[in-house]
Amino acid sequence: MGPLVPDIIGIDLNFIFALIIGILFGAILEQAGFSTSKKLVGLFYGYDFTVLRVFFTAGIVAMIGVLALTHFGLLDINLTYINPTFLWSAIIGGLIMGLGFIVGGFCPGTSVCAAAIGKIDAMIFIGGALLGVLLFAEGYPLFEGLYKSTNLGNPRLFETLGISQTLFASLFTVVALLVFIGVSIVENRINGIKKAPIRFTPYYFGIAVFGLVVALSAFMFPERKASLIKMVEDNSLVNSYNLDIMTVDELAFKLVSDDSKLQIIDFRSAKEYEKFNLPKSSSFLIDNLFEKEPNKLLSVNHKVNVFVGNNEIIERKMAIIAKELGYKNIKILKGGLNAFVEDILNLKPTKDTISQEGRDTYRFRVKASQIIPKLIKQNKTSGPVKKTQKRVVGGC
């Protein structure tokens, strides 16, 4: 699951990727014609909308792509950098940049691109940009108030608008397509070209097909999380699903003998977990199963993951989801934690002492009921496992 940094790709290798990504970035910008200021400002005077076309096509493709990766469970959006929203600095900073665009003829990325192929005005522009950063840095105490005001956190626009992200992306795409048609009409009028604004060349056709395939695949393959949660609502399937089962005595034995392979995954609420938790256990919520960071715990080699919950049905549901997600070495506790508490921790004198087996079990349980509460007490001091999620640091 993405992002691949920092687990699969290390910090140093990431720099190599930065270089490769940069080379492709520079090459695409240059090929698109972003290395000339006349083409760049054309968008503001209506004679050349190349920048707008490239920019919004890229934005929509990336928006749909990120949506698709999240939809199919390939990218954990909680770990991805979402630009923070500071309302006033975003608006005023943006307006200043807009003025800079029209006065200077570039933006930072395109100026570097243009300077690389020898544009002298771009080199001067970069010098000015460095001065601008210096100005901000030196005058920082003056601007800090504005810079840090109206911090709205990291909202995403569909949340701000209160609509679903797919609806937002669809609306955005439709608006962009209408804008593309509109600017073609404007551009043709200003340049005196008589040509239909919409033409079905292979390029447009190919891009449209690509978009449709992504959209259709999202319909055909529903979101992983939603479909799995729906699947475990079917009780007959949940009860007939083949799962490895661990008895309460087995679990008690593994706890008493301090089995290093044992790993308990506790699916009760955080409150219940805080009140009472077994040694070697980690608190999990259903959402954690779909996240990248907590899942490292489930993927540790040679560990046996025992899923526990208040009752066996909950354990079964969680274990089925985990198995469907491809995790191995998953077991569930027979009868759930309730059975464990009743049979081991709150052991009552039993009448079943007739058979040899019954007597042995009882003797073991008596011993376990003395040892395990002590282990729980010792464990308490260390507190529950805290899972920290860290977003990637990004931005300009």
């Binding site: 992002p3 940094v5 990727f17 930065a18 990504i21 940069g22 080379i23 970035f25 520079g26 090459a27 695409i28 910008l29 090929q31 200021s37 400002v41 050349d48 190349t50 076309r53 890229a58 934005g59 493709v61 792509g65 990218l75 991805t80 950098y81 979402i82 630009n83 600095s89 900073g93 943006g94 307006l95 200043i96 940049m97 003025l99 800079g100 006065v103 200077g104 003829g105 933006c107 930072p108 990325g109 570097v112 690389a116 192929i117 544009k119 522009f125 000015g128 940009a129 460095l130 601008g132 901000f136 840095a137 920082y140 105490p141 504005l146 995403r156 551009e187 990004g394 931005g395 300009c396």
Partner: protein
Amino acid sequence: MENSKYMNPYLAGLLLGLLLIATIYITGRGLGASGALKSFTVASVETVAPSHTQATKFYKEYSGEHTGSPLMNWLVFEMVGVVIGAFISGLISNRLNFKLEKGPRATTRIRVIGAILGGMLWGFGSQLGRGCTSGAALSGMAVMSTGGIITMFAIFGGGYGFAYFFRKFWL
């Protein structure tokens, strides 16, 4: 305007979009440009006046957020890549030459002053707005960040709003 020399804009957009998806999938962050300018500025000031950076708030906050040399930064490596990539592209398409580009009515003097001032406005604005066209607007759009999209509208809105007053520069 049809120009056969350049790539079809929608194809370029598609490629740029795919590159951005790959970047987010691999690194968890988008593309950027102005951050590299910031790193470069901080590194320069650190070299010229190290005592100044230790006493000034902006640099202190910067070093609080970043470890190591300011030049050991993802965006710096990325921008080095941009220089290489653009150069190769210019070489292939035969566009390498030293040239000062300006509007038909603009003098060299106006163009030079415009480039410096425009650059300064970008340097300043991108710090205030937490990113430029790449880092805030494009990458922000990809992850549907409210702030990024607001910055994007402000940049383009500002461009259109001010365009009339600077038409002598370009038309």
